[in-house]
């Protein structure tokens, strides 16, 4: 639609205060936190595609009117929460309207006795949690992006919080949804629509990443705040033993609040290792390996920009640090409940960690992690400031497959990028592996190519070893090339729903599955 007419129509439809065509707004909404676009910015470029307008609906009637308009006029619409997505789910498409949901951020009702709350989707996760806490309740969903992500985004991308071992993922916490279909029809599903919270239609929108409609209300499961939470650290001879302990704990019926096991390099970054296996200072060893004195300390612990760039030019050398570090792996564990329950759970955890040759390190490592649990995301901007890039790849598989998958991904990516991992979001059947990787090339174009190769080789390794390519970041545009192998036949079902619900293809086109 031609710009001036779009501007007139949208202002007429929603009112001028709910629409922006400002250059700064259009630039701001031209990307979410997708690292590929951050790399573009390193080279002084802006994303090639920007939105035509940004809308800020304030209630379901606004959303319904907007969707009816977009469908009638064939204007693409892209829902937008807080823009923390890292897979490009909220990237604009040519001529689209960005639908920023953050003004729809009200708590509609709370029923502590029934264990439910109904909330608008634009509420930021941290604010939602604070509101619930006032009533002595919690959602139990604590992603590391909690202060820059929204409830609607969690639902759309099947998010997981750091305490998912205890509370489950967002799909376990979502009991009902109100959705505006692309034509503007409002539909209510699950508990909000007279159904059950296992309403299969809910499963359709959980993970749909805004491609099938816009979420306007979410009914969530809430629980009383735990009387007590407690954290500890455990050390294992190697990650094999640590994984054995995690598996045994999850299969024992214990529901720990958190279980996170760090591989040697991630343990190093977490401050767990200061010496190599032979007793040498790790920084001295790094200098010997890379030929640059003090490089490791500068690069990894102090995030010195030049040192980081230098180190990341030779990722295989940095990755070799893993070979000389002690194999001991750090695990952070947490439990919650009343005093008796906490004691009972710790006794179970002690028994099972001991059976896997784990040593109790006491509360300090656990509480260190707890205090800094949201800090890691903020280190990323310093890496970008150094001209390098950093990203994370969260995959999952079964217990029997976890080590082969971990090793295969390391092998596939370590020539491209500096890579480390931790194991978290544990289930009785398996767990997630959260790879963090950083790379650098002197030009943004070369960095972009490196980024692409690292992802391609990493996901190929995951697919070869039968894991899932995404545990809680979603698919977006980053991983959709791999979806036919991840879930053969999924594209046919998705295509049927897309055609039935959105025959003109206006809702967030080009995401999740490749329908072209």
């Amino acid at each position: 639609m031609e710009g001036a007419r779009l501007s007139d129509e949208l202002r007429k439809l929603l009112g001028p205060s709910k629409v922006s065509f400002g250059v700064q707004d259009l630039a701001s909404y031209s990307s979410d936190m997708f690292p590929r676009n951050q790399i573009l910015k390193l080279g002084g470029k802006t994303p090639e595609v920007g939105p035509a307008a940004v809308c800020f609906p304030e209630d379901v009637e606004d959303v319904s009117a907007l969707m009816a308009f977009c469908t009638r006029e064939r204007v693409p619409a892209v829902p937008y929460g807080a823009g923390s997505g890292v897979c490009g789910s909220a990237l604009p498409v040519e001529g689209c309207v960005m639908v920023d949901m953050k003004r729809m951020n009200r708590m509609i009702s709370v029923d502590g006795d029934g264990g439910t709350a109904t909330v608008e989707p634009g509420i930021v996760g941290e604010n939602l949690e604070l509101l619930l806490n006032r009533d002595g309740l919690t959602l139990g969903h604590f992603p590391s992006s909690i202060n820059c992500s929204t409830l609607g985004g969690y639902v759309a991308c099947r998010s997981a919080g750091q305490f998912s071992s205890r509370y489950g993922k967002i799909e376990d916490l979502t009991l009902g949804l109100e959705i505006v279909r692309p034509g503007g029809t409002v539909c209510r599903l699950g508990l909000l629509g007279g159904g059950h919270h296992k309403d299969p239609a809910l499963a359709l929108f959980l993970g749909s990443e805004g491609t099938l409609g816009i979420i306007t209300k979410v009914c969530i499961r809430v629980e009383p705040l735990p009387e007590k939470m407690d954290f500890r650290g455990f050390a294992f001879l190697d990650i094999d033993d640590g994984l054995l302990a995690m598996k045994r704990i999850m299969q024992s019926g214990t529901r720990p609040t958190v279980l996170r096991l760090y591989d040697p390099l991630d343990s190093l970054v977490a401050g767990f290792h200061s010496r190599t296996a032979s007793g040498e200072d790790v920084h001295a060893a790094a200098s010997r390996l890379t030929g640059k004195k003090g490089l490791l300390a500068s690069a990894l612990t102090e995030l010195n920009q030049t040192a980081m760039a230098l180190a990341l030019l030779r990722p295989s050398l940095l990755n070799r640090m893993a070979e000389i570090l002690p194999t001991r792996a750090l695990m952070v564990a947490g439990v919650q409940g009343d005093k008796t329950d906490v004691t009972r759970q710790w006794n179970e955890v002690f028994k099972l960690t001991s059976s896997a040759r784990g040593d109790d390190l006491g509360p300090e490592p656990g509480y260190n992690w707890f205090r800094r649990r949201y800090a890691v995301s903020y280190k990323q901007s310093r890496i970008y400031a150094a001209g390098a890039f950093v990203d994370t790849m969260e995959v999952a598989t079964t217990w029997e497959n976890i080590l082969p998958l971990y090793q295969a991904v390391l092998k596939a990516m370590s020539n491209h990028v500096f890579i480390m991992a931790h194991f978290s979001h544990a289930y009785a059947q398996g767990c997630s592996i959260y790879f963090t990787f950083a790379g650098y090339r002197p030009s943004a174009a070369a960095s972009g190519a490196l980024y692409h190769r690292a992802w391609k080789d990493g996901l190929e390794a995951v697919l070869r070893h039968g894991g899932t390519i995404s545990h809680h970041h979603g698919v977006g545009v980053l991983k959709k090339w791999a979806m036919d192998r991840e879930t053969p036949g999924g594209r046919i079902l998705f295509g049927a729903f897309k055609k039935a619900l959105d025959p003109h293809g206006v809702m967030n086109p080009g995401k999740v599955f490749n329908l072209d």
Partner: protein, 398 residues
């Protein structure tokens, strides 16, 4: 749908790929029954059906009189009954959909494992039937419903294409289509293989038989027991002829798995929450479960419903003030996620029906039903698999 196609033509076309002895023509029933050996053969059959507009029904012992106009294909999965993978490490077993649930369970028992949710009569049910049926099976607060046990699914879609999801926990790769297939009762696809969670056999089981003062109090306390003690199984019911056998008229059965102190703590929690409305009685739990005349229903006389917590509470209150207590056979189980599954004898069903919802309609909201129907119209425009849900439209025993 093509009304012109004949059984002979269907047999001839399917015979291009499938050996003759695995194809049977029923002239009276107007169907060709095919017994595929492989996933590829099923895909071939359904692909043919989709191209020709021939309806497909899985062959089930409980087809329940499902009547179709014109010639159709019945797919018997009984030759696809292998256990294809097992991981003790991850607590998973993968079986083909034609496996009898009892055979799968026996195989697991040999390995010291068990399915967490079983159908009422596992000997009579193949895995695909168990997964697609809206009937709950024996469920309890600890393990959730049968669909929660399914870790990964391989299915044939109505267009003959195959669907599979990765063997991983907690996927965030688009919508969970396996849930839609399973809860779609067969309209969105037919399961061919499923990987399901298995549990280790418990080191110890605590089995509690409790006499309840009345259904209303028992149900009220059961919700608390479910939340606090999270028993593996929890059932409450009325025994109309209990007095004749010297049994209480209202009973609760609780099963707890585990060992050591945590098991005894949970037992104490159960007794604490049932408190003064229950007393332990000494008829062995398993004997009671097996007593046909009191607890179990014979075939052909039951109706199963689901009830939300508030509906069940209202029903229990209504029973207390009516002649149903002492006359009706009624069994409530589950107490999972604020709902329970209720089985009653047919005579009582009419009286109690106002409180309950039929299994087939229970989960999906009206808007959700409309939305799924819209998508089915695109996925399966000729309704090739559109008749499959009819298999479960009435209770199988009826």
């Amino acid at each position: 749908m093509s009304f012109l196609i004949t059984g002979a033509r269907i047999r001839k076309e399917l015979g291009r790929r499938i050996a003759g002895h695995r194809l049977t023509v029923s002239d009276s029933g107007h169907f060709v029954q095919v017994e595929p050996d492989t996933v590829a053969e099923v895909a071939f059959v359904v692909d043919f059906a989709a191209r020709e507009g021939v309806k497909v029904l899985p062959a089930s012992g409980g087809l329940n009189g499902t009547a179709l106009d014109g010639w159709h294909i019945r797919v018997a999965l009984k030759r696809m009954s292998a256990i294809s993978d097992y991981s003790a490490d991850s607590g998973l077993v993968c079986a083909q959909a034609g496996a009898r649930v009892q055979d799968l369970q026996d195989w697991l028992l040999d390995k010291g494992r068990t399915l967490a949710v079983l159908p009422d009569d596992p000997s009579d049910v193949e895995l695909w039937e168990f997964l697609l049926s809206p009937r709950s099976g024996r469920i309890g607060p600890r393990f959730g419903c049968k669909w929660d046990q399914v870790f990964s699914l391989h299915a044939v879609l109505p267009n003959g294409k195959l669907f599979r999801n990765s063997l991983s926990p907690g996927r965030a790769t688009g919508p969970d289509f396996s849930r839609i297939i399973l809860m779609g009762r067969g309209a969105f696809g037919l399961p061919l293989e499923a990987t399901v969670s298995v549990q280790p056999l418990p080191k110890r089981r605590v089995l509690l038989s409790l006499a309840l003062s009345d259904l209303k109090s028992g149900v009220e306390r059961a919700w608390q027991v479910a939340r606090e003690a999270v028993p593996e199984f929890l059932e409450i019911g009325l025994l109309p002829r209990g007095a004749e056998s010297g049994l209480p008229s209202c009973v609760a059965f609780v099963e707890l798995w585990g060992e050591g102190r945590s098991l005894s703590v949970r037992r104490e929690l159960v007794l604490k929450h049932f408190g003064d409305v229950a007393s332990v009685f000494d008829v062995p739990y398993e004997k009671l479960l097996g007593m046909e005349d009191t607890w179990q229903f014979g075939p052909g006389d039951t109706v199963q419903f689901y009830a939300r917590r508030e509906s069940l509470d209202a029903l229990a209150a209504a029973v207390a003030s009516s002649e149903l207590q002492g006359a009706a056979r009624l069994r409530v189980r589950g107490f999972v996620d604020n709902h329970a599954c209720v089985t009653v004898d047919s005579a009582t069903a009419g009286t109690c029906g106002a409180f309950w919802t039929r299994p087939a309609d229970f989960y999906t909201s009206p808007d959700g039903q409309e939305l799924l129907a819209d998508a089915l119209g695109v996925l399966d425009p000729l309704a090739i698999m559109g008749s499959v849900p009819q298999i479960w439209s009435e209770p199988r025993e009826a």
